[in-house]
Symmetry: C2
Subunit: 301 residues, 2 copies
Amino acid sequence: MRIVAALGGNALLRRGEPMTAAAQRANVREAVRALTPLALEHELVITHGNGPQVGLLALQASHFDDGEPMGLDVLGAETEGWIGYVIQQELGNVLPFEKPLATILTMVEVDPDDPAFSNPTKPIGPTYSEAEARRLAADRGWTIAPDESGWRRVVPSPLPMRIFEHRPIEWLLDKGTIVICAGGGGIPTMYKPDGTLGGAEVVIDKDRASSLLARQLDADCLVLATDVDGVFLDWGTEDQRMIERASPAVMRGLDLPVGSIGPKVEAACEFAEETGRLAVIGALGQLDEMVAGRAGTVIQG
Amino acid sequence: MRIVAALGGNALLRRGEPMTAAAQRANVREAVRALTPLALEHELVITHGNGPQVGLLALQASHFDDGEPMGLDVLGAETEGWIGYVIQQELGNVLPFEKPLATILTMVEVDPDDPAFSNPTKPIGPTYSEAEARRLAADRGWTIAPDESGWRRVVPSPLPMRIFEHRPIEWLLDKGTIVICAGGGGIPTMYKPDGTLGGAEVVIDKDRASSLLARQLDADCLVLATDVDGVFLDWGTEDQRMIERASPAVMRGLDLPVGSIGPKVEAACEFAEETGRLAVIGALGQLDEMVAGRAGTVIQG
């Protein structure tokens, strides 16, 4: 089987945990334990989130910012390097030495006409006081919004349209290489009016990008790993119960809470509808059972 | 021909130039103009320096440092993402859309018994006052040394022993992909006593790593691009003259100034000796002539 496995941001850094190299290593090791059975038996592509990491790099960079801040494309590329390296190295430490591994930098195209551009919602980078946020917004054309702890820059989260490196990724898979790619939803890029490609000041949803990648690679299964066992009805109530199996049509008809589960369900449904194959949402520790359709919420057309 | 072309750090950022995204883009575009004829005609691997970039990231990170600084492995991985992205995107903007491009994260092994570990010489990261440098040295076991503007951390620069990703790089070349890799000499890694691979607090010379890569890939030509036309005798005097062609044995016998040209000559000689093929040191703008043996200092066995 050819599998695309997307690791949630909290597979790399747990909520509330300080972002130290040691904590990140420990979490990656746990993710690697869950991935190992898949890596030994299947063609495997690993994608991952980058939220806390890109936040840290944006915070670090903001203090050395001479009016031309590092773009979200460059920061995204940096996190693909950082996180890809740690995952690849830890995987290499548990797999046979001969197993080829590669981390491929991944650029993803977004459409300048995506409606998300008129409604930026994704908070990014450091928290500012209201005055400072308003000054930056005026200076740089940022959109800002308050959250619980202060004001932050918010950026659009448009849909991924194309993954430029899908052929190199496929060629490496054909050779038995485990490929790590599309970290953080991919480096956001966009065609400019002059016809050249440049960076885009947006964040692309990692699960939507993983779903697109799985379709481009003709994958047999898309697994979206998170810290809950699956998709729940009546979540947080006494009546909460996990959906074990459903069609994309049924999943789309559900009244699910917004937040991170929405894009996951959307990403899984897109893959299941277009391919007729298995998309599974569930807990990292159950990856092996999920790809067999025996754990998580299994979505199939 | 299969060519490995190494871009000097100043191909990406000129001496004294502020490190803005715009300056870097402009320099990368110039490098891309020089690379384009090679990219259209040959199998091409592009490697690059990362000195100013890793310095900036280390400086940014040092201000958010809670006692566990980002390792040189992680910073190196970040720069492979950052610089690789910009080179790949700008190359893609001038080549036919169909030409496959890929940036591969590259880990390079060093030997813990390398004599460089007992003689750290490579300055890295921010400049400190003497008192601050001494405090950090005591706290963290750093080696420090004074330079013109203050005190800096110095780290070893051991020889590269192995490039882990040489098979994926080769497979992509076989498919006609232009591969960007081994940025900054590669992410420095080292086997620990427990047999697992981890990061190494060292800097690997980019030209030595490029030479090793060229040998591992059975390349036909290694070109080391810099900002001078070649290797000069009596450099800086009225008698200075460029060496147009020499054997590795002759080159090794020369009394050349230390600095950046030394590792370049060493890297070129290693390749020429082991393969009997062309290694050329010269100016970025003459790449096309250099691979034909018509410009730069041509070293052949």
